[in-house]
């Protein structure tokens, strides 16, 4: 038998100890001697590459990581320099950023906002990362962007296409180079009108999440503006793999165009189902039945195989672009990895260069300084022609590609052909239409 005999003195003593223990946290203050979060003091500077390495977008994540590694190599003066030679700003000289060698840490977002934030937090708190970049879904990008705003580091968004990232959820510390749903709609609509006519009836299948909604809305608004009619818009669960039950009603609806607001595996499955149902051979209202995929990527095209032939969509960038910058990037990426880069890789590579260049021009890693250097920065030579980083919403404005599934692909990478390069002026919009508030830049400390 054991029995505890507590003396009055003992109780008082342990009470005092416990009290002191509880009081410990209250002596903390939000202190910091540094001027901003994770100010690099040594001879190196650490960047955080936060990409999905597992989950549905792991392919994109792997390609993004390759691009980041390439960008770091080029900034540190290795390799053939890639786009550094074609970039209109010549601030970077191949000796790292501000004389500090660039190092990096990587993390797995798992395409979940919680995991992405945990991983980004560990980069900031443990590894001392001064900039976080990556993400290949808008939910993750918005979540990590908000975290970076709180922590006082810069966030350079990777592949995120929803209007919200630089719309209602924009943050002063976050920047996006990739285009968005609105621009897809604006770029696609005229091409669709030219090819398919102005008296079309569209049926939308939309992935039931944020990106799906903004894409549907963008395509709807811009196609309706030129005379199309929207027959119906049906939401499909994100986890759906068999879309047969959603395709069948399309035939009865009297629609003659099907718009698939799907991305990744969703799009591969829904498009395959639609083609299997013979939609593309149908004649409705005297028109050939057509299918449209607003956001195209090469990785999706590969998944869908022959089904994508002749289908219109939009893209941020494609490796077959002939300008000097794109060619330089494709060359050094191809030399290092043996295949051409995807548009996800391109945007991540460019974002890293833009960040490095902004630090160099600002002469500091301080988020507020970097932010000021990026805002309203006009540049060229990074593959999309003349581009503007708009200061009022931190969104890049540049030409948008309208692409089409190639009829006769020559390799597994040569699946899309560029139909038209929609000039920047045509996809610009007023920064206030999506609401949201940028707030002020936060340098931590």
């Amino acid at each position: 038998m054991t029995k505890t005999n507590m003396s009055r003195r003992g109780v008082l003593k342990s009470g005092a100890v416990a009290g002191a223990g509880l009081a410990v946290p209250t002596i903390f203050t939000a202190q910091s001697a540094a001027a901003y979060t994770n100010e690099p003091t040594g001879s190196t500077v650490t960047l955080g590459f936060n990409v999905p390495q597992s989950g549905p977008y792991a392919d994109e994540g792997a390609d993004e990581l390759r691009a980041y590694e390439l960008a770091v190599e080029h900034i540190n003066g290795g390799g053939d320099g890639g786009m550094l030679s074609t970039f209109s700003s010549k601030a970077l000289d191949g000796t790292g950023i501000l004389g500090k060698k660039v190092e990096y840490v990587t993390g797995d977002t798992q395409t979940k906002s919680d995991a992405a934030r945990a991983s980004a937090k560990s980069m900031i708190e443990k590894d001392g990362a001064v900039m976080i970049t990556g993400g290949s879904s808008s939910g993750v990008a918005v979540a990590v962007q908000a975290l970076c705003q709180e922590a006082g580091v810069i966030f350079m968004a990777g592949l995120t296409h929803s209007n919200d990232t630089t719309g209602k959820d924009k943050r002063a510390n976050g920047f996006r180079h990739f285009f968005n749903s609105y621009m897809s709609g604006a770029a696609l609509a005229p091409i669709l009108a030219n090819n398919y006519g102005k008296d079309r009836k569209a049926y939308h299948l939309t992935a039931d999440y944020n990106w799906g909604y903004t894409t549907e809305e963008a395509v709807r608004t811009s196609t309706e503006a030129m005379g199309w009619e929207t027959v119906a818009a049906v939401k499909t669960p994100l986890t759906q793999t068999d879309f047969s039950s959603y395709i069948a009603p399309v035939l009865q609806s009297g629609a003659d165009v099907l718009v698939l607001n799907h991305y990744g595996g969703n799009m591969v499955n829904s498009l395959t189902n639609a083609v299997q149902f013979g939609l593309r051979e149908k004649q409705v209202n005297g028109h050939n039945f057509e299918i449209i995929v607003p956001l195209f990527s090469r990785l999706m095209a590969r998944g869908a195989g022959a089904n994508i032939k002749g289908i219109f969509g939009s893209a941020n960038w494609h490796w077959s672009l002939q300008d000097e910058g794109s060619q330089a990037f494709v060359r050094s990426f191809g030399t290092k990895y043996g295949f051409p880069p995807s548009q996800a890789a391109h945007t991540c590579y460019v974002q890293t260069l833009l960040y490095a260049d902004a630090c160099q021009r600002a002469g500091t890693f301080n988020p507020c300084g970097v932010s000021a250097a990026l805002e309203d920065f006009e540049f060229d030579g990074l593959g999309n022609g003349k581009t503007l980083y708009r200061g009022s919403d931190h969104q890049c404005f540049k030409d948008v590609l309208v692409v089409k599934g190639k009829e006769n692909p020559t390799s597994e990478f040569d699946l899309l052909e560029i139909v038209e390069i929609t000039p920047r002026g045509q996809v610009e919009y007023d920064a206030s239409i999506f609401g949201g508030n940028l707030g002020a830049c936060n340098g931590g400390a």
């Binding site: 054991t2 946290p25 390495q53």
Partner: protein
């Protein structure tokens, strides 16, 4: 102390000491050394350790005591999180109302779910809870209620975060350009104090200590429940529910109470997650998150007091530390070897770190289930038993045989 017997008091004190000195214990390697990769003493991970510890402690009250395997506990965590973030958006950024409301809301929801699910037992119960959790996940992910009423309830895919423009009726207006930050009467959750001792660097974070205090309280509660007559009833449900029925007792109120209590623990964990990191996404309600807490509990030792805490610590450690070891880190480790050999070692090690950390987790989980079904606690006991058996010869001469001081 506090109405506990000696053994439990010792356990509570050990846990308290571990929690108090975690910033030292988890940062054993000097800053900048190659092994610093394995340091876990940074605020975010320490917070996760104790918060998921609370989640697992609560789950263990249901699973460890009654044997009812709920596969939908992450839903309560998520509901708690959403409740907490709404408090922060509407009332104040102070964490106290957020945490209180998260526990209450999670308790109400778990009462509803438990009321229905507990009509069945065994696999049917598990499937029912899983179905409820996935329903709630889908509701949150597509923000169905928000859409129905023309507003925002869960924010869908992008989730919810406090914004500058939120009402926050109890708080004074934010200073120009300031971001809303969670605090406890002015003490910010993110406030940290860095202590440098030689090459070592230790971080003491306010948020961590608040979460750790909640964990200690939760742990204490769980000890009391384990040792109470109520806990005994729960154990009898696990050992033979039919016999319990024949003795004229209705087990339903007991199991429902256990279900609601563990749901409230999950809500507390959810509220704390929001307090430490002010955002909610629907993913934390996904069924894999529910599966994770089952794995934590079994890994540590179901039905034991300390097991779930250990299990959650191990799993979160692997998720956050192993997953960040990439190829270039491995290259720096093995750079001292000749080329061919280092490539070989890098290739082998690379299979178990980085994005493949799930493999390591799986292997460890299998090893534990096969060789020590009682989890880490049983492993510790076995090691302890082996060590003390070795020591026994010293005591046979009667010189230093320890006797309880009665």
């Amino acid at each position: 102390m506090f109405g506990l017997n000696k053994q439990d008091t010792t356990l509570l004190i050990i846990v308290a000491i571990l929690a108090l000195f975690a910033p030292f214990i988890l940062n054993p390697f000097p800053e900048g050394s190659a092994l610093a990769q394995f340091n876990a003493g940074y605020p975010d991970l320490m917070q996760r350790f104790v918060i998921f510890g609370i989640f697992a402690i609560g789950f263990n009250i249901l699973f460890g005591l009654t044997g009812y395997l709920s596969f939908g506990h992450a839903a309560f965590l998520g509901v708690g999180s959403y409740a907490a973030i709404w408090m922060m958006k509407l009332l104040t950024m102070n964490v106290i109302p957020a945490i209180i409301i998260s526990v209450i809301v999670a308790g109400l929801i778990s009462f509803l779910v438990g009321w229905i699910s507990l009509r069945r037992s065994g696999i049917y119960f598990s499937i029912l809870t899983l179905a409820f959790a996935m329903m709630m996940y889908q509701l949150a992910y597509s923000d169905l209620f928000g859409q129905l009423f023309g507003g925002v309830l869960t924010g869908g895919e992008t989730g919810l975060q406090p914004k500058v423009s939120d009402p926050r009726i109890l708080d004074a207006a934010l200073a120009e350009g300031a971001t809303p930050k969670a605090h406890l009467f002015g003490l910010e959750m993110g406030a940290s104090h860095k202590m440098n001792v030689g090459a070592w660097s230790f971080t003491f974070n306010a948020g961590y200590y608040i979460a750790a205090f909640a964990m200690l309280a939760a742990f204490y509660m769980s000890i009391r429940i384990f040792r109470s007559p109520f806990g005994m009833m729960l154990r009898s449900v696990k050992s033979n529910q039919h016999r319990l029925n024949y003795t004229g007792l209705n087990p339903k109120p007991y199991t429902l109470a256990a279900f609601v209590i563990s749901g409230m623990y999950a809500g507390l964990a959810g509220g704390l997650l929001v307090a430490m990191d002010t955002q909610v996404g629907a993913e934390r309600m996904f069924w894999t998150a529910s599966g994770e807490v089952v794995i934590m509990t079994i890994l540590g030792g179901a039905g034991t007091l300390i097991g779930p805490v250990l299990g959650s610590g191990l799993l979160k450690y692997m998720e956050n530390i192993l997953s960040k070891i990439n190829k270039s880190v491995l290259e720096s480790w093995f750079s001292f070897m000749p080329d061919g050999m280092s490539d070989f070692f890098i290739a082998i090690t690379n299979l178990f770190v980085g994005k493949q950390w799930h493999i390591t987790t799986g292997v460890i989980f299998m090893l534990v289930i096969i060789f020590v079904p009682g989890g880490l606690v049983e492993l510790g006991k076995r090691i302890g038993a082996r060590l003390s058996r070795k020591k026994e010869p010293n005591n046979t001469d009667g010189s230093a045989k320890p006797e309880p001081a009665e």
